[in-house]
Amino acid sequence: MSRRGFSWRTMLFAPIAIGAATWFVTQVPQDTSVDRPFEIEGAVGETVRLDYADLAVTDVRVAQRIDGEGGAQAGGVFVVVDAVWEAADRTLSIGGAELVDAQERTHAATSRSGCATATTAVPAYGQRITYCFDVVPDALDGAQVRLGRGGDGEDGAFQRRDAVAVVDLGLDRASLEEASADETPLWIDAPAPVVEAGPGGEENA
């Protein structure tokens, strides 16, 4: 049985091989190709089909004041997004809700005045909820909402390699002028199931 030690070739090429492998790993674009969620785009009124749930953004409104479980005055302006979630095959938590503007700034949903930041989706019927985002007026142009089951977190860790709906809200400066003209607080309905199965149903249970 041979008891030879490492040959000079091994001593030479092993560090080179390790170095090359390390270099290769650092070249893999992990932040984009690997970690990025699968974004499914949609528009207001459309149903976005994710692999775990269907989502429909049914209405988008802008207001300076909202009222539901207590009134709230916007620091900027409230973007109020009505949505219906219906799970595909099992009950699940929906925790991700953020608004991204044209400058790629992200904005979190607020729980003020009874607005929802998360919900539970179930199969067979839709769950209607209302998201509210208090944003600066210049965030309205090109604003999109990113809604998904994974929580946003600071680093988006909970949405990696998962499906996320991206819905263009179709807002602009005119939306802000309408909101400014109407000082009546916008009423925020409590979350409720929708009778008609599937997103887009009109009647509440």
């Binding site: 539901g68 479980e69 207590g70 009134g71 709230a72 620091g75 700034r105 992200t106 607020t110 680093d155």
Partner: protein
């Protein structure tokens, strides 16, 4: 035992032998290093308040993702429906304007991290125990925080948005300081946490970065409390002057919030009277109409 002298000397014995073998210079150096290491867990490297940047009223300073302007400090018996836990105590209110200058949302609870309880103000904790003036920022009680515009509790501050906030502590009823020291503590951005498990967040450093003396506006009479819908009830003390409008709006719109009830911390929502329910963002409504609704 015969072989006892050959037993292993142990870590301490090794250290003693090693130290004894050193020359004078080596002993001095190793002793100094040991002293530094021993002092490290006790805050040897912490910044001291003397290094803090001077802070003045209406001066804009940057802390973490925020631009902060400390407007004034007020001592008051009540702030709308918000009352001290002990009726004999008072409320100490720091009124500030905060703006998120970053591109990502900031959690409003960080305001409690960056504005520790003022020093020399007679602040007491939630069990009415006095807070020592030499308490570290991280050891001082956290304030309740309210958006003055609607008297609700803030949860998130999005990029570019500015709020005028009231940070509220319990204050000893006998304390009547003319001035208090307001400190701001820093936040440190963690780009990548240990092993990548928790990335991209602001970590409180509990180190004072700004510090300044502020006059304290004393309590005023409670005239007008509890009548009609004007909303000039309790909140008047802490928000007089240009906050009047804000309180009035709270008066008509936060009735529902008051329904939620008693709140937490400094006793928000005690003005509910009927004591209906509990909730975080109740209470600050601070208005006659809100109380009337909830009482019903």
């Amino acid at each position: 035992m015969k072989h006892a002298r050959n037993a292993a000397p142990g870590l301490l014995g090794v250290a003693q032998n090693l130290f004894a073998s050193l020359g004078t210079t080596g002993k001095v150096i190793s002793g100094t290093l040991a002293a530094v290491v021993a002092a490290t867990p006790f805050g040897a490297w912490n910044a001291v308040a003397d290094d803090a940047i001077p802070l003045a009223a209406d001066a804009t300073v940057e802390v973490g993702p925020y631009e902060v302007v400390i407007e004034k400090v007020v001592s008051t018996k009540t702030l709308g429906d918000v009352q001290p836990l002990d009726p004999a105590d008072k409320l100490l209110v720091v009124v500030a304007e905060v703006t998120n200058t970053s591109d990502v949302p900031a959690h409003a609870h960080q305001l409690a991290d960056i504005v520790p309880a003022p020093v020399g103000a007679g602040v007491v904790d939630t069990e009415s125990r006095p807070v020592p003036d030499d308490a570290e920022p991280g050891d001082r009680p956290l304030p309740n925080r309210y958006n003055i515009a609607d008297a609700g509790e803030l949860d998130v501050i999005n990029p570019g948005v500015t709020y005028r906030v009231a940070l509220v502590w319990n204050q000893d009823g006998d304390a009547a300081p003319e001035t208090v020291r307001v400190d701001l503590a820093g936040l440190h951005w963690i780009e990548e946490g240990f092993a990548g498990l928790d990335d991209e967040y602001w970590l409180p450093t509990d180190e004072v970065t700004h510090s300044g003396m502020f006059d304290v506006e004393p309590p005023k009479s409670q005239a007008g409390n509890g009548s009609g819908s004007g909303g000039d009830g309790g909140g008047a003390d802490a928000g007089e002057g240009d906050t009047g409008g804000a309180e009035a709006s709270g008066g008509t719109d936060t009735g529902g919030g008051a329904d939620d009830g008693a709140g937490t911390g400094t006793g928000a929502g005690a003005g509910d009277g009927a004591g209906a329910g509990t909730g975080d963002d109740a209470g600050a409504g601070g208005t006659a109409s809100g109380s009337a609704e909830s009482g019903a």
